[in-house]
């Protein structure tokens, strides 16, 4: 009997320990961010292109996403937004790309990716996208200052 109690106490402690990784309230995810700061995130996710042709840029973004295996789910040229999803079983990803005027000679492109129920904060993944986009645009992607 005593032995049984001891085992059950140990089991309870183990169970509670295993719950440590869980959040108290999953609604907190609404405004939760990852490890990267907002400034860092913007620097991974954004590039500037020396063009003012927004429609052409949006079309090139769409073509690039298709090359990368994305299904284009939404596109709006008034706001300058393209969203898509790439189905790759457990590595599936969702992505939104926005294109807006930066100044009289340049456009600003920002990409945000979600994968594995998280916002992607890996600079290399965004770099892959901008390398592909640069090639398709025939233009250099400048880092945002």
């Amino acid at each position: 009997m005593k032995k049984f109690t001891r085992i059950s106490i140990a089991a309870t402690i183990l169970l509670l320990l295993s719950l440590q990784g869980c959040v108290k309230d999953s609604k907190q995810a609404l405004f939760q961010t990852g490890d990267a700061s907002a400034v860092e995130l913007r620097s991974f996710q954004s590039r500037v292109f020396d063009t003012t042709d927004r429609l052409k840029t949006l079309k090139t973004v769409i073509a690039t996403l298709q090359d990368l295996g994305f299904v284009i789910a939404k596109a709006d040229n008034d706001v300058g937004v393209v969203s898509g999803s790439k189905y790759a079983n457990r590595h599936s990803a969702l992505m939104t790309v926005t294109v807006r005027d930066k100044n009289e000679t340049q456009l600003f492109v920002r990409a945000s990716v979600q994968q594995h129920l998280k916002a992607v904060e890996d600079a290399a993944i965004y770099q892959d996208f901008f390398i592909a986009l640069e090639k398709a645009m025939f233009l250099k992607a400048h880092q945002v200052d």
């Binding site: 079309k59 073509a63 298709q66 090359d67 299904v71 284009i72 790759a88 457990r90 990716v113 994968q115």
Partner: protein, 196 residues
């Protein structure tokens, strides 16, 4: 009598093995190798151009000698409707169309496999039940040729099993699918042209 009973047992066993190896193993191996292919994408390579990106682009793209992209979009929408797709999103300025349809995804091989597993091991295995199939079409002007339009389509699907879990999320990359689509769109373009 005894021999007959033993023989009939033996035949039954053989039949189960045959059934198992044909439909179940075949089906499972097919889907397993397909999954492996999809899973070859490493999580970090999700936005990387691969060596087959260009061949996929070729497979998914056709050029039509029509300058009016609005007409091509109309034809594509007509074709989606012919095939039972619902248009979820459309943007004529960017030439983007997204169609989808929900269909059954029950496959005989999987079901047979699940039945056999249930008989032998006494456990129920979830099998694929429903799927959402997507067709993403983008119509654009051919580069350096304003008299032609380019159509690129990509098909993909999400599959849910009887436990309501997402069992597959895959791009459909069989060349035949695309051949069928483009031969249909040629016909559809003709129909639109003829105002039928």
């Amino acid at each position: 009598m005894h021999i007959t009973r033993q023989a009939s047992k033996y035949i039954l066993f053989l039949a189960i093995i045959l059934f198992f190896s044909n439909s179940f193993a075949g089906g499972m191996i097919n889907s397993a190798s397909k999954n492996d292919k999809e899973d070859e994408i490493l999580a970090a390579d999700v936005l990387k151009l691969t060596s087959d990106s260009m061949s996929l682009r070729q497979m998914q793209t056709r050029k039509y000698e029509i300058s009016d992209q609005g007409k091509v979009i109309q034809s594509a929408v007509g074709l989606l409707q012919d095939d039972g797709f619902i248009v979820e999103e459309i943007n004529s300025d960017l030439g983007v169309i997204l169609g989808s349809k929900n269909r059954e995804a029950v496959e005989s091989g999987q079901v047979a496999g699940a039945i056999i597993v249930a008989i032998i091991f006494g456990v129920s295995v979830p099998v694929d039940k429903e799927q959402k199939m997507n067709a993403s079409i983008v119509v654009s002007q051919a580069p350096s040729d304003p008299t032609s339009s380019i159509v690129r389509v990509t098909f993909s699907r999400l599959v849910w099993n009887t436990a309501n879990e997402l069992s597959k999320a895959e791009r459909l990359e069989d060349p035949e699918i695309y051949q069928i689509f483009f031969s249909k769109i040629s016909k559809s373009l003709f129909l639109t042209e003829q105002q039928i």
